[in-house]
């Protein structure tokens, strides 16, 4: 079953003065359940825009986006918010935890917006996920009391709390040293392999992309390569 079906998606920004700029040009992409996809490409190629569309934070100018069997490209803000809440998990480069909230509150945050889960249940789920990412004794701490790697693990726990169809990771190791980076990537890989969680990752580091199975390269708003990571790495190194 396909988690993501993107058909002929374009994104055009209209500048002040009537000039328009095409950032994505007729992109087609299918991601199956259980895949681990890395998206790479030079700066300004449209990676972020593509990620925003995948993350339902933005809508394509034209084309269709079916996420988990739902057509989302024409939804309004609140419908998109609901899709993000129910079907997506985000991992950001800057962790994006709420600094004034405890770790358990941070992890449980998406569940508040789900509206149908009791506070005790939210806490229970958040605690078990913190345990899973190896932060059992830290539930009452605040993000600024723990290391960057730990913060990113909290963010992973938060991304998993709503049982998403898809995890979107935007440069998840960009703020981490290489050792911690490896740890986080191994963890994501483990999640993908053992639990069959679909992950789409944006990075510009080949080392990070190497943890994925499949590589999608975007150059100048179009998909320039779509295939196995290994094949690409062996074929041409950039």
């Amino acid at each position: 079953m396909s988690v993501i079906v993107i058909k002929d998606v374009c994104k055009t920004y209209t500048m002040a003065g009537g000039m328009s700029q095409s950032v994505l040009k007729h992109v087609n992409l299918k991601v199956e359940k259980g895949e681990f996809v890395a998206i790479m490409g030079p700066s300004g190629a449209g990676k972020s825009t593509f990620m925003n569309i995948l993350g339902c934070l933005d809508r394509p100018t034209s084309g269709a986006y079916v996420l988990g069997g739902k057509e989302v490209s024409a939804m309004n803000d609140d419908e998109l918010a609901r899709v993000r809440n129910k079907m997506l998990g985000f991992i950001f480069q800057g962790f994006n935890l709420l600094m004034r909230r405890t770790l358990v509150d941070n992890v449980a945050l998406p569940l508040i917006y789900a509206n149908d889960i009791a506070p005790q249940e939210r806490k229970k789920r958040a605690e078990s996920l913190l345990e899973m990412v190896g932060l059992k004794g830290f539930t009452g701490r605040y993000p600024n009391q723990i290391s960057g790697g730990m913060q990113q693990r909290v963010a992973i726990a938060r991304a998993l709390v709503n049982d998403p169809e898809l995890i979107l990771a935007d440069e998840p190791t960009g703020n981490l040293d290489s050792k911690t980076s490896d740890e986080i990537m191994l963890f994501l890989q483990k999640l993908n392999r053992e639990r069959g969680i679909t992950i789409v990752l944006v990075t510009h580091e080949p080392d990070v992309a190497a943890y994925a199975q499949r590589l999608v390269r975007i150059v100048d708003g179009q998909i320039a390569y779509d295939g196995a990571v290994k094949a690409y790495m062996e074929g041409n190194r950039d």
Binding site: G55, D58, A81, N85, N96, R100, Y113, N115
Partner: protein
């Protein structure tokens, strides 16, 4: 859902305690000021009202009033006479009548002197004016009949002329004539006209007629103080007196009255109105500080929205609907103004009662400051929260997440 939003709003508020407190302080001061001012206004109103009721709600003052059309005569004239007063005694519904002839003079005793108002009347005056003797005796029938030089002095006159000794039996000079103090009046306070009644000196009517009469007629009176029976209706007794005096003065039907009846009840109503206006005015002035306080909330919320742009982005990315974001910020401002109102209310009521305790005055506790402060809390909270909350809601999650 509301509960969760409230919870989040509370957490955000307590997350920055100092700022929340300072913002709340604006509302606290505002509400406290309004409550205090309203209490002050009402207290003043009550005190004035009490004084007037003490003067006697069933007291009428009958004064002469010169019809405008009549030819001007030199010197003050009056149409009210001692005979009118005597006749009124027998009118149905009348309790007591005191004829009053007044004058102003300087009272001197040794090196002390004080400007006094002389009340020439009969022993009935005390009962009519709801006044009491503090020491000594009131003028009696003999004094009135013979026009003696015995006087009863007001509390202030006593203080000024006899600061250290007992005035009873002592001689004072009023208008350069010797008088003997036989009694002291209890302290009374100001009259309806605002004059200080404690600077009065009471003399037998005949004495004033002989020595201090300003009028052309010997039997002229300044006014008649009349107390009617409690069972009588004010309007009916006024009409009865009017008919009676018109007949006595032989006034033709088409001519106006040559006298005027004043009553305390009307005066009390007017004073009440003044008190109400005063309360509203004070509250209006105090509410300026409420406006300033609510501007403080707007300011704080706007800063908060900017400062928490990234948080808003995170919340939106994780699936917070626009309404959630908006409500959270709205609740925060309502909570702040609510907390401010409650504290301000408690503080205001407490300070008002403390003030009442210190000045030994009953300060009324009314419900409407409570209602007012809660209305204010919600209105101020919503009004000052709407714009910042709308701003937060409109933030683009992509932009907000990128915000440093």
């Amino acid at each position: 859902m509301i509960k969760s939003i409230l919870h989040e709003a509370c957490l955000s508020m307590t997350g920055n305690k100092l700022r929340s407190f300072l913002t709340t302080l604006g509302i606290i001061i505002g509400v406290c000021a309004v409550v205090l001012m309203v209490a002050a206004g009402q207290t003043v109103q009550n005190i004035i009202q009490e004084r007037f009721v003490a003067m006697g709600a069933n007291l009428l003052i009958i004064r002469s009033e010169r019809p405008k059309a009549t030819v001007k005569t030199s010197g003050p004239t009056t149409s009210i006479t001692l005979e009118d007063a005597t006749a009124l005694r027998h009118l149905r519904g009348v309790d007591t009548v005191a004829p009053v002839l007044s004058a102003n003079a300087q009272a001197v005793r040794g090196t002390n002197n004080w400007s006094v108002s002389i009340i020439g009347s009969t022993p009935e005056y005390l009962r009519t004016a709801n006044w009491e003797i503090g020491a000594g005796r009131m003028l009696d029938a003999q004094d009135v009949k013979r026009g003696t030089t015995n006087v009863v002095i007001g509390d202030e006159v006593r203080r000024e002329l006899f600061p250290f000794d007992d005035p009873l039996g002592k001689t004072i000079r009023i208008g350069n004539q010797p008088f003997t103090v036989v009694g002291l009046l209890k302290e009374k306070g100001s009259s309806s006209g605002g004059a200080n009644q404690d600077s009065s000196v009471m003399m037998p009517l005949l004495t004033v007629q002989r020595r201090f009469n300003r009028y052309a007629k010997l039997n002229a009176l300044h006014h008649i103080a009349l107390k009617f029976q409690e069972t009588e209706d004010l309007n009916i007794i006024e009409q009865r007196i009017t008919r009676f005096l018109r007949a006595r003065h032989k006034i033709k039907d088409e001519d106006p009255d040559d006298f005027r009846i004043f009553n305390i009840a009307e005066f009390v109503e007017n004073i009440k109105l003044i008190g109400t206006v005063l309360s509203i005015l004070l509250a209006a002035i105090a509410s300026i500080s409420l406006v300033v306080g609510s501007i403080g909330i707007v300011n704080m919320m706007l800063v908060s929205v900017t400062e928490r742009t990234r948080e808003i982005g995170i919340r939106k990315a994780l699936g917070a609907p626009n309404s959630w974001i908006m409500l959270q910020f709205l609740f925060e401002s309502v909570l702040i103004s609510m907390a401010g109102s409650v504290i301000g209310l408690i503080l205001g009521v407490g300070l008002a009662q403390l003030g009442g305790y210190i000045y030994n005055t009953a300060v009324p506790f009314s419900l409407w400051p409570v209602v007012l402060s809660f209305t204010v809390a919600v209105v101020v909270g919503v009004v000052s929260g709407v714009f910042p909350a709308y701003k937060a809601m409109k933030l683009d999650p992509i932009e907000a997440l990128r915000y440093q």
